[in-house]
């Protein structure tokens, strides 16, 4: 999914690399002018070739000079050296939908790990930059969430409540996760907790039927807490492993709808609250994730519609904002279009060295 971001990051990365390389090579030029003899470290042959016979000698390449410096010098990076490249990186993140405040934080992090430090350069400059970026992104994305392991290690039924704003893909995700868990051998029951939106009960009903998963439904307009309470009762009495509770989409700035969600939570006592948002959301992803986390909590995040774009900055925005693990990525409208989120893999892919 992150293909676009990857390309852009790679461009920014090589830009950063070259700007640091400039820093390193310029003192080499100085050293050459002044005779380069005051450093006691053994200089490689090419550097020690007397300048009288330049025509017949292969001129030292940038890489050669660079190698010398790797041995002889420490690298001190100044803010000025990297500021152009960092603002390019900043643009890249913004264009990838990483929200502005989150972008600011990442840039600050990368800058901090590059600027002002004395560094022995044992490896390539490239890996210095990549290292800083990787640290920043891993830091932001945290670790994933292993749902199967969670279910195995908790008393049944494991009750999972799905929340989020309108149209992000909650219902479809409930169906996908139901299918996924069923394939793993777990028994599942779905609670049709959206009793509000027209066609919602029918929608989740069709999914459940196609998947052969038991569903508990009340008529439209009923109390969602009541349906979900019944679902939990059903699971308990039938020794079902997992309860998947769908809810109506709602906006975080609507107090009555949020308190309804709070009531649902009190009544069904979920083990996990899963917040569902879409990968294509922009800066609002930060605001609403923060609000949902604050009012009803969120233990894990599912990001849907990753097939729509190749950027996925919302993953970074949300993870950074609420610090909760990303559990799954939705990649289409079929039941199999769901993949566990693996931060290290994603970061590796982003940075092009997976």
């Amino acid at each position: 999914m992150f293909g676009g971001l990857r390309e852009k990051l790679q461009a920014a990365r090589s830009r950063l690399g070259s700007s640091i390389q400039t820093v390193i090579t310029s003192p080499a030029a100085d050293a050459e002018k002044t005779g380069a003899s005051n450093t006691s470290a053994p200089a490689p042959e090419k550097q020690s070739v007397p300048p009288v016979t330049p025509e017949i000698t292969v001129k030292p390449t940038i890489v050669d000079k660079f190698k010398v410096l790797l041995i002889e010098r420490e690298l001190i990076v100044s803010e000025k050296d990297v500021s152009d490249a960092l603002s390019e990186l900043e643009m890249t993140l913004l264009e990838s939908d990483v929200a502005l405040p989150v972008t600011d934080a990442i840039i600050a992090h990368v800058k901090k790990s590059l600027v002002g430090k004395h560094r022995k350069i044992g490896e390539s400059v490239d890996s210095l930059v990549v290292g800083a970026l990787r640290d920043a992104l891993l830091d932001v994305l945290g670790s994933g969430f292993d749902l199967q392991a969670y279910i195995r290690s908790h008393p049944r039924p494991v009750k999972i409540l799905f929340t989020g704003v309108n149209g992000t893909g909650k219902t479809t995700t409930v169906a996908k996760i139901g299918s996924y868990l069923k394939k793993q051998g777990f028994s599942v029951v779905i609670g049709a907790g959206d009793t509000y939106r027209a066609g919602a009960i029918e929608q989740i009903g069709v999914h459940a039927e196609r998947l052969g998963i038991k569903i508990i439904q009340h008529p439209e307009g009923g109390d969602p807490s009541a349906v979900l309470f019944d679902t939990v009762q059903y699971a308990t009495s039938h020794k079902i492993d997992v309860v998947l509770a769908d809810t109506a989409g709602r906006f975080h700035n609507k107090a009555n709808l949020m308190s309804q969600l709070d009531k649902i939570k009190r009544v069904m006592k979920p083990d996990l609250v899963v917040y569902v948002d879409e990968a294509v959301a922009g800066n609002d992803a930060v605001t609403r994730a923060a609000e949902f986390d604050k009012t009803v909590g969120a233990d894990a995040v599912v990001l849907t519609k990753a097939d729509m774009d190749s950027r996925g900055g919302a993953a970074i925005s949300i993870a950074h904002t609420i610090g909760k693990p990303l559990m799954f990525i939705g990649t289409g409208q079929s039941y199999d279009d769901i993949a566990p989120f693996e931060p290290a893999g994603v970061v590796g892919e982003l940075l092009g060295d997976a």
Binding site: E95, P101, N166, R197, A198, G199, E202, G205, N253, A281
Partner: protein, 441 residues
């Protein structure tokens, strides 16, 4: 943090306040804050860069119109550049037509279809809806439930998998209706088969309008998605949904720019009635993270905070020098006095020419002079005789003539206010007037 951002834009604007010469650094700062505000509202980054570039160039190169402060000048340019993007309002005619709904999965097409049906129905048109979504489970239940609520015929068939076939049948079944809205399944730019399908649906329906429904929260990819839809079916209007949340709609704005269309409607809630016509001022204000356009256009209500202007005292005939100063300050923040007065509903009442002639430099002088008055003199300027005048002038490092000028201006303002009171039959309400004024579009 968004508040912090918008306040930084406001701070940058403040720095331009009272300036009479264009300050390059201040403009640069403003442009930078403008960029941040727009980017955090999800306006396409490239679009933001183009836009801010022309704001900068124009601010520095164009001569501010006479009587306009630098700040107003820059704000006006910001506003103009933004309005230029959203300006084309989509023509909504009350005549027979077919509307094809298009958009990404979950953007709000079906809900908006019902809202539009209701909108045109209320305008007295005979409306019919076709459910061409053959994919999403419960799609037909959803739209037919909504249509039943408003007694609008809805054609569909959950068993049929061919959207074109349903649409063809639906057009025939609903031929008595004047206006047909075709709801389609969600799709995105990378789904070639579905893009093909909507091209075919467009050809089949010969749609009058092809409206792209966009979630207010859609981020940077909005432009790209819109471009693909535009290439496919020539989008001629954008509907922004879910504006009742906290998203700013910058993605939708970028889609409008991409399709060179306009914003037809705004969705502002989950119920059928929650549909609004597009209001550019409100939209731009939100985009910039500023309370409202009044603030943007510098004729802010905020400039006239009730606590700043003691309207009641003024109306009771008590109008002190202090009141006058606050008044001036507030009016000065709002823009050229003359322009504002010209907009007030005062009939053809003549205002003395001199009322308009207080520049911000002069206001600073007035402030200094007033600083060397006693509280008694400020409250009751008639106390100021010639010896007091000497003392005040001396204390302020001003000439007695300047003090006299200030007092003269004060008297003129006092008279003007009396005139205003007369003109409005004693019921003059400054705040209401200002509100009315700033609500003007």
């Amino acid at each position: 943090m968004l508040d912090g951002l918008s306040s930084s834009l406001k701070d940058a604007l403040k720095k331009l306040a009272g300036k009479t010469v264009i300050d390059r650094a201040a403009v640069d700062e403003l442009v930078k804050d403008l960029q941040r505000a727009l980017i955090s509202s999800d306006v396409n980054v490239k679009l933001v860069m183009e836009l801010s570039k022309s704001v900068r160039t124009r601010s520095l190169e164009e001569e501010p119109p006479k009587g306009m402060t630098v700040r107003e000048h820059v704000l006006r340019i910001v506003y103009q550049e933004l309005v230029r993007l959203v300006w084309a309002s989509t023509d909504v005619k009350l005549e027979p037509q077919t509307i094809l709904m298009a958009g990404l999965q979950g953007s709000g097409k079906t809900t908006t279809t019902a809202k539009l049906a209701r909108f045109f129905q209320k305008k007295g048109m005979k409306v019919g809806v076709i459910c061409a979504d053959t994919f999403r489970p419960g799609a037909f239940d959803q739209i037919s439930t909504l249509c039943t609520k408003i007694h609008v015929p809805c054609y569909g068939n959950p068993q049929e998998k061919d959207a074109l076939k349903i649409t063809r049948e639906g057009l025939a079944a609903l031929k008595e209706q004047e206006l047909i809205i075709v709801d389609t399944q969600g799709r995105h730019a990378l789904e070639a088969d579905l893009i093909r399908e909507i091209i075919d649906l467009n050809l089949l329906t010969k749609a009058t309008h092809r409206w792209l429904v966009i979630d207010a929260a859609l981020g940077q990819m909005a432009s790209e998605q819109a471009r693909r839809f535009h290439e496919a079916i020539n989008i001629d209007g954008v509907i922004i949904t879910k504006m009742d949340g906290t998203a700013k709609g910058g993605g939708a704005l970028s889609a409008v720019a991409e399709t060179r269309s306009g914003i037809a409607f705004i969705g502002s809630g989950e119920t059928i009635e929650d549909l609004e016509r597009f209001d550019p001022d409100g939209f731009i204000s939100r985009l910039l993270g500023m309370g409202d356009l009044k603030a943007l256009m510098e004729k802010a209500n905020e400039a006239i905070r009730p606590e700043d202007v003691n309207v009641d005292a003024m109306m009771k005939g008590k109008f002190t020098l202090r009141d006058m100063y606050k008044q001036l300050e507030a009016l000065n923040k709002m823009g050229p006095l003359k322009q504002i007065m010209g907009m007030l509903p005062l009939g053809n009442m003549e205002l003395p020419e001199g009322v308009y002639d207080v520049t911000s430099t002069k206001m600073v002088r007035y402030r200094i002079i007033m600083d060397s008055m006693t509280p008694g003199e400020l409250d009751d300027p008639s106390l100021i005789n010639s010896s007091r005048m000497q003392r005040i002038a001396h204390g302020a490092g001003a000439s007695p003539d300047e003090v006299r000028e200030l007092l003269k201006y004060y008297k003129m303002m006092q008279r003007t206010l009396k005139g205003l009171r007369g003109a409005s039959g004693g019921k003059f309400n400054m705040q209401r007037l200002m509100k009315r004024f700033s609500g003007m579009q």
